[in-house]
Structure formats: C-alpha cells, structure tokens
Symmetry: C2
Subunit: 404 residues, 2 copies
C-alpha cells in the first residue's frame, strides 16, 4: 500500500510568495484600477543584455544545423563555461578554485534545495533568522528538522542564529555546534553582509568544529565595499569546510533563463568521503545538464561586452537601491541593507507586525513588499523592498511612501 | 561534526554510461585512426526542427526587449505550454487530463529521479529487470533499497520483475505487493512494450493493491502499432494510481535543450494526501521553472509545422531502427524491440556476456552499444543498440556487424 513522505505535511501553510500573490490578486480584484508597484519578490525587470542575446541567437542557430547540433550536455557543465567561471569569478580574485570544481546547474534555487541530499539524515542545520525559506523547507521535506512549533514559528531541531539590528546583522556562534551552517552573503532578505574578517571567523569556526558551510553568494555582484568578500574562498581554509552556490539570476537577469553553479572543492573530505565525488554522482544520476544555449548565454556574461553591459545593469539596480534607501531614511524609517545588496530591509513603524505593514502599504500606497516575518521569527517587525523594479517605479513608490 | 549521507556509498561502481565512455576513450587512445560508430547512449543526432528554431529565436528576442522580457516563470510551467500538452497529448486521445495536472520540468531524467521524494522512506519499489538505472539509483540515494548484493547484482529490498525473451518481455505480477511500480513503456532498454489490455491489467492491479505506478512514457512518439497505448491514462482507472513522466528529448531532439513534464492527476489521494499538492509544493520549493525560451520551443513542438517536421524526424530514426533490426536478423541474431521504440535489443551470440560482446563489437566492428547487464541482471546476455545515429552510420554499422 503506497504511503506518502509525511514530512511534506509538516510544512506549515503555503510558501511566502504564493501568499503575497494571493493577497495582491485579491486587492487587484477589489480595486481593478489600482496602480500597484511591486517591490516584493526578487525578480528582475531589465531585459537580457545585448551580448547575451547575441550568444543565444548564435547557439540557437548551431542547434538547428546538423554539423553543430549538440545533444546531451556534460552532466557537470561544458568546459567553456566552467573555465570562464573558474577564471573570472575565482582565479582573478586569488581564489584557488579549478574548473572541475564548478558544477553548472539550472539555478541556485535547485542547488540550494538539493545540496542537503549530501547530508546524513540526522544532521543538525543552523540558519540565520530571518532566512531564505528554501534552505529550511528542503531539509524539512527530507525529514531533518524535527517538529514545527507554530507559536515560536521554529523547528525543534534547527539552530536559529538571529540577525537583527541589535547584533548589527552579524550571526553569533550558536551554543550547540551545528553540522551544517547556511550563510547567504550578501544576505537575502536583510541586504546586509559580513566583512572578510567576520567571514574568516566563521570559516575558522567550521574547520575547528568539523562543520560544513553552505555559502550562498547569489548577490555577490552587488558588493560595493572593498572589505566585503565576493567568495568564501577568499578566506583561508574555506576549501576544507565550504560549498559555494552562485546564480546568474541577479548579476545577469537570468531569473527566467535559468543558470547557476555550485563550487564543491576537492578538499571537502568527511569521514574519508569526497563531497566533490558525491555531488558529481548526484548530478550524473539526477540531472542531465543545463541547456547548451543557456550555457553559451552564461559564457557571454564573462565576455568583454557582456561584462560592460552587466556592470551598467547592476549599477541601474543599485541606483534604485540608493533611491529606496535614501527615500526611506528621509521618510523617517530605520533602514538597513541596500549598499552591498539589492535588498532594503526596514523596521516597520509604530511596532506594526510585518504583515500589518504589508497590508498597510498595499492598501495605502499600492506598493508590494515582502513581510520580514515570512523569512523567520526574527524578521518580525521588519520588511523587505527590492531594487529590481524600474527606476521610475522605485521613485514613484518612494514618493507614495513619503506621503503616508 | 558533519556526516555524509552514507547511502551514496552503497551505490556500486560508476554509472553505466561513464564506464562505456571510459572504455571507448581508452580504445580511441590506442587506435587513434579508428572510425568508431556510436549506437550506445540514447542521444539524438538530428538538428532541432526549423519551426522550433524559429520559436527559439522569437523568444530570445522577447527576452532582449524590456516590454516583452520575462523573469521567473511560473514554477509549474507557462499556461501556453501546459494547455498545448493537455490538449495534444491527452484530450485528443480521450485521456481526461487537465492543464493544471501538467508539471513542466527541465527533463524526464530529473523528474524520474525526483519523484521518489513523494514516497515514504520505507516504501518498497518494484522495477522491471533490466531497467533504466535512474529509478533505482535515485531510491538508493534516499536510503530506500536495502543492501547491494554484488553476486546477485540486486538490492535486497527492491522487487525485480524480469522481462526477458522467456516471458515475451511482459513483467509478471510480483509475489510480494510493491508500494510503487516503475513501468517504462515503450521500454528502455528492451524496446518492447505492452498492449493496452496488458497495461490495463497493471492499472487494475495497482488500484486493487493501493500501489502507485510511475509510468515513464519518454518513447511514446515511436509507437507504430495501434493497440499500444501512448499514455497510461488511456487505461480505465489510471487517474487514481498513476503518475506519467514525459520527455521532449526523443520526440523533438531536446536532449541538449532540456524540457519534460510530469502528469500528477488530482485523483491521486493516499491517506487523504494529494500527490498533486505535494508535487506542486516540491516544485515550488526546489525548482524555479523551465526557461521561458525553452518552454516556447516546447510549444512549437505542437504547432502544425512542428508536428509535420517532427513526424519526419521520428520517421527518420524509425527507419534506422528498421535497418538495424532487419540487418541483425539477417546476420543471424535474435532481435527484439525496434518497432514501437528507437531501441533494438539483441541476444548476444555464443552465450557471450553483455560486456564481452561490448568489447567484441568495439574491437572488431568499432561499433559502440550498451551492455544489457548494465541495466540489471536479467539484461545479461543482451545488448542494446539505438536508432538515434545517422542513417548512414546505421547502415555502416550493420554492414560491419554482418561481416563479423
């Protein structure tokens, strides 16, 4: 008799962004003429850069020609892309990462969710609070997080590391040692980050305690300050304790194109087992490679023209971030993030809950953001706005907020 | 202290096709001038059809334009594609499947591997023997198959259903009732299939025993005989017992383009839990949708021009299948499959093992096939050739084999 994986049923309610979608749809239905500005979900709005469009057209033509057609891609990614990544994202920054430690995938979300397949069933994970929900939910689905406490809004077996204004959004070493530590830096949702020295302390902590760090660097392209590391491999000793996940979604607008990669260094050996070999086996068994044309698009990200165009695109979003950040400050809000990340994290006014502020903003300014509490209990009384809208909408949204 | 998922270490040796790749590479290195013909891995060789190339160019242009750019796709797939699939693959065949029961993915391999996330940890799975390795390996990685017996070449907790010439490649109902039954029809690797009446018996068996059928219909486009079902939903009662997985790899040559889909009917309720809701949650948490441009390519598969061009493409490969099948018969081999599938399954001559025949064929005819034993112990003394090469190579390969 078939029985389901009952871990799915432990997951509370529905996914954060579906709830937001439903609330916005309901508001739109009641106010069909309303002009809603969406600064909620982290989706980009600028079109794909010309150099990448050219690469896509070129590779599409190759696929239509018998002499240049490509069938199954290598499971782990084409060498042309793995080399470009290793050279441009790592070697050029002095990080000792080789092309065959790069695993190309269909995106950072898949990798963030799938990476837990490498962990023992009873592994204890530590996450920042607030946190990108995928880390937790993917572990819950695998039966790893214990019981959901609806009052605390916490899982019994997860170690939460609060990051709030009180500790300047720097997670503290937990009292119980975790087996796995998820770090997303620059952070989603808070938009804050750590300096290289602060991250080095986490690398040292992990190496000392035999813990594995899952380092999500999806927002690396938005770093503007010199002492903020772009990769965890800028820290000494990271090759023996850290996996790094990267995305093309935010640096090149690939949210609808789908491409990402994960770095699994060959020095990651636990109990004599190589995580590099395990991840290769995982990819070989459960994945069939990213599309050839999309991998060529990824390669174009690293071309001279691609770099120049994307620098401009990231600059455009960062200008939005500045507009939102400054505008919120002028309106009297307590504001964080936005300097090394496309996310602006604000304290809700008048002790409103995050969802109260969501409703307030939707009803009174027709601006959609993301309630901080949706990312964890320590996100309560915070709220996330993203810089991924258009400049015009960012300005208009702030004009409305200032008038509240 | 981090501990790995030790289930990975239970997997014996390396993946079938990697081993073949290494053997071929070694042969090539020793015989640099050899002209090797590859009829091994199920990869296609014909370029993407013009109607699909046009759709790709069109959607690439949309992505380069701010007014038509698309960010995150709906996790479950764009409506234009889900509707095309529901209408063309199901409703037109009288199958009661609606668009919101179609889950678009990056390919059938991912879905085949990931679908086990819905099963309880102690589920007992049944597979045909020989079998596509992904079904088994993905369950092993999740700790579900017991212990590997290297002598029997079987997992202690898997139910194997032999399909050999002796039972005309029709699996028999196992003595112990499984929780999950994987059926791939038309079959990979044997190229054989079941009639609608024979499949109906499996649907009845599953409904009677409360089992779930995972029906892999990746080769559906190759069916030429009238009494062979294209979908399991042609059978009465399949909506309450079956999930169907489909691919664009073989009907449209998308092995390097990556697109597939899975049908999870809303009537699949076990212990009050909807598998449709579970799979939606799974996609929402662990997947970010297939690329927009690739989904437009999928849509073009169902256009009038696309259909006409792909009918010709499938016909081309089926002509290869006929060439190989007939040629092997003429050469005195015992041959199966090849009529409703692109795979030809032959009995090795002189009681050679599958790997002995692999080496024999590589060394004496420079033809690469796939050893039947790589798909399971009942595949021993069989060998798979695929029709996915060019016509010229299919003819040349058979000329060489006939001369052996």
């Amino acid at each position: 008799m078939f029985k389901v994986n009952t871990n799915f049923q432990k997951l509370p309610g529905s996914y954060l962004f579906s709830t937001i979608g439903k609330k916005v749809a309901a508001y739109s239905a009641e106010h069909p003429d309303s002009d809603i500005i969406r600064l909620g979900i982290g989706d980009v709005t600028q079109p794909i850069a010309p150099a990448i469009i050219e690469a896509l057209h070129r590779s599409v033509d190759e696929m239509g020609n018998a002499s240049t057609f490509r069938g199954y891609a290598p499971d782990l990614g084409y060498d042309f892309l793995r080399n470009a990544i290793a050279d441009s994202d790592y070697k050029s920054r002095g990080c000792d990462i080789s092309a065959d430690e790069v695993f190309v995938s269909d995106g950072a979300k898949s990798d963030s969710a799938d990476i837990q397949e490498l962990f023992a069933a009873d592994s204890v994970i530590a996450v920042c609070d607030p946190v990108y929900p995928v880390y937790v939910d993917s572990n819950v689905m695998a039966g790893r997080c214990g019981i959901w406490d609806a009052n605390l809004e916490k899982w019994s077996d997860i170690i939460y590391m609060p990051t709030t204004a009180e500790n300047h959004f720097v997670p503290e070493f937990p009292s119980k040692t975790p087996d796995v530590i998820y770090l997303c830096l620059p952070n989603n949702p808070t938009g804050t980050t750590l300096t290289k020295l602060q991250l080095q302390e986490w690398v040292d902590y992990a190496n000392k305690n035999g813990a594995l760090i899952i380092f999500d660097a999806a927002y690396e392209a938005y770093i503007s300050e010199a002492d903020v590391p772009h990769s965890i491999y800028e820290c000494e000793g990271a090759r023996t304790c850290a996996i790094e996940i990267r995305s093309f979604s935010k640096n090149a607008g690939f949210t609808g194109v789908r491409l990402g990669f994960t770095i699994v260094p060959k020095d990651l050996i636990f109990d004599g087992v190589s995580l590099h070999s395990m991840w290769a086996r995982r990819h070989g068994t459960k994945f069939n490679g990213a599309p050839y044309i999309i991998q060529r698009a990824g390669e174009a990200v690293y071309s001279d023209a691609g770099r120049a165009q994307l620098k401009e695109q990231v600059g455009y979003y960062m200008n939005n971030a500045k507009t939102i950040y400054t505008g919120l400050q002028e309106a009297g809000f307590e504001v964080y993030g936005g300097v090394n990340a496309p996310y602006i994290w604000l304290k809700t006014p008048n002790n409103m809950t995050s969802w109260e502020f969501f409703d307030y903003l939707l009803n009174n300014a027709q601006v959609v953001g993301t309630p901080g509490s949706g990312f964890g209990p320590s996100g309560e009384h915070y709220f996330r706005l993203t810089a991924f809208g258009t400049y015009e909408n960012s300005v208009r949204a702030l004009d409305r907020i200032k008038k509240l």
